[in-house]
Amino acid sequence: MTLAIKNLSHTKGNKALFRHIHFDIKPGQRVLVQGANGAGKSTLLKIVAGLLSSDKGHITYQGHPLHSELAQYFNHMSYLGHQNSLKKSLTPLENLKEQLCLANSTVTDFQINAVLETLGLTTQKHQLCETLSAGECRKVALAGVMLKNKPLWILDEPFNSLDKDSYHKLQAICQQHLGHGGMILLSCHMGSHHYEGCHVVQL
């Protein structure tokens, strides 16, 4: 169960975003993508998530090229981009149930409630998402990633607009995921002292 990125290059318009990126993610490992605004962090994550195709280079998962077995790959990966991908006129609970069904994960109501409680969303779970704050929506989206229970997490600036308490809780959850043999690829520009010892890809 390894994700290997080899010699990846991408250009947007006339501008080369990044060139010859190499890295591997093995079970229990976390890779941090860093770079200035506009350096192509989000684009890199989207390419690895299979949403965009790269100009050059190869991505293999478990030894197979990504695009040959995309459905299989999507069964092992959950991606969270800048947008939370929540329907505003549904409640967090309804949103999570739909996302989990789409991701082919069978999760009991008990598990959903437990995760929502850990993140302090119990009182908000029956409110419409349009009435929630940006941080609360982010937490609902992150709860979706956890509940899907996939080995590989690809998170684009996951901790934006979170308060300190939730931030620490989510860091602990990430550590737990790594402890269970999970893999995390994330981008972040702040709080890099929390990522000591993890592989950093500088764009």
Binding site: E94, E98, L102
Partner: protein
């Protein structure tokens, strides 16, 4: 597979039940727009009665097109379309579920209202029945082609007019057949041929359109 299909439809319908403006306004607009023709041309005018099937069909085309575009654009803004692409289920299957929802919301209420238009436009009961039947058989093709167009243009901001330019030529055969059902039935001729052809277009769209929409959506996200 069936489970995810139902779940998609259920949650989309729940969303629309809470966002009534999205589908109630088009229905009201349909009523007002057609009544305006009646007021403009005079309700007891023979020309109006002759032209009304065409008027109703063309209004129906525009309203379904704009409703589907609106609904799709909201999904795009909320970012839920990329969730569909990232699902391990086949994308065409999920888009077929979306098409069913769009048909239920954008087409079905208008079809059910045709008897009302029959009364407003003073159509004979036979012509109203023909109109109802032709819309019922032809509208799945409209909704499915609408989804293909909406996915194709989903990477473009404010693409409403472009979408219309793209799709209206494809709608022409459906419009011609749908209208001819009404005209032929008024002159007491058999309409089996037109209805069968209209049904064939719908079935063809049902098979082909979700795959085309899936390809278009992947390409639109990969800009």
């Amino acid at each position: 597979m069936l489970n995810v299909f139902y779940s998609c439809i259920k949650s989309d319908l729940k969303t629309l039940q809470r966002k009534r403006a999205d589908w109630v306004y088009p229905i009201v607009f349909f009523l007002v727009f057609i009544s305006l023709f009646g007021i403009g041309l005079g309700f007891d005018n023979q020309r109006l009665i002759a032209a009304s099937p065409a008027i109703i069909w063309i209004t129906f085309l525009f309203i379904t097109l704009s409703t589907i575009d609106n609904l799709f654009r909201r999904e795009q803004e909320e970012g839920t379309l990329s969730q569909l692409v990232l699902s391990p289920y086949p994308l065409w299957w999920l888009l077929l579920a979306k098409s069913v929802v769009f048909w239920l919301v954008a087409c079905l209420p208008l079809i059910l209202l045709t008897p009302v238009f029959g009364i407003i436009m003073q159509l004979s009961s036979q012509a109203t029945a023909a109109l109802f039947l032709s819309l019922l058989v032809g509208s799945p093709a409209l909704a499915l082609l609408g989804v293909v167009g909406a996915t194709l243009t989903s990477a473009m901001p404010r693409s409403g007019v472009f979408l219309a330019l793209l799709l209206l030529p494809l709608y022409v055969p459906i419009l011609i057949l749908g209208e001819s059902v009404v005209v032929e039935l008024q002159s007491a001729q058999s309409v089996h041929f037109q209805l069968a052809l209209l049904g064939a277009i719908s079935v063809f769209a049902l098979i082909g359109a979700p795959h085309a929409a899936a390809g278009a959506l992947r390409a639109a996200l990969d800009d």
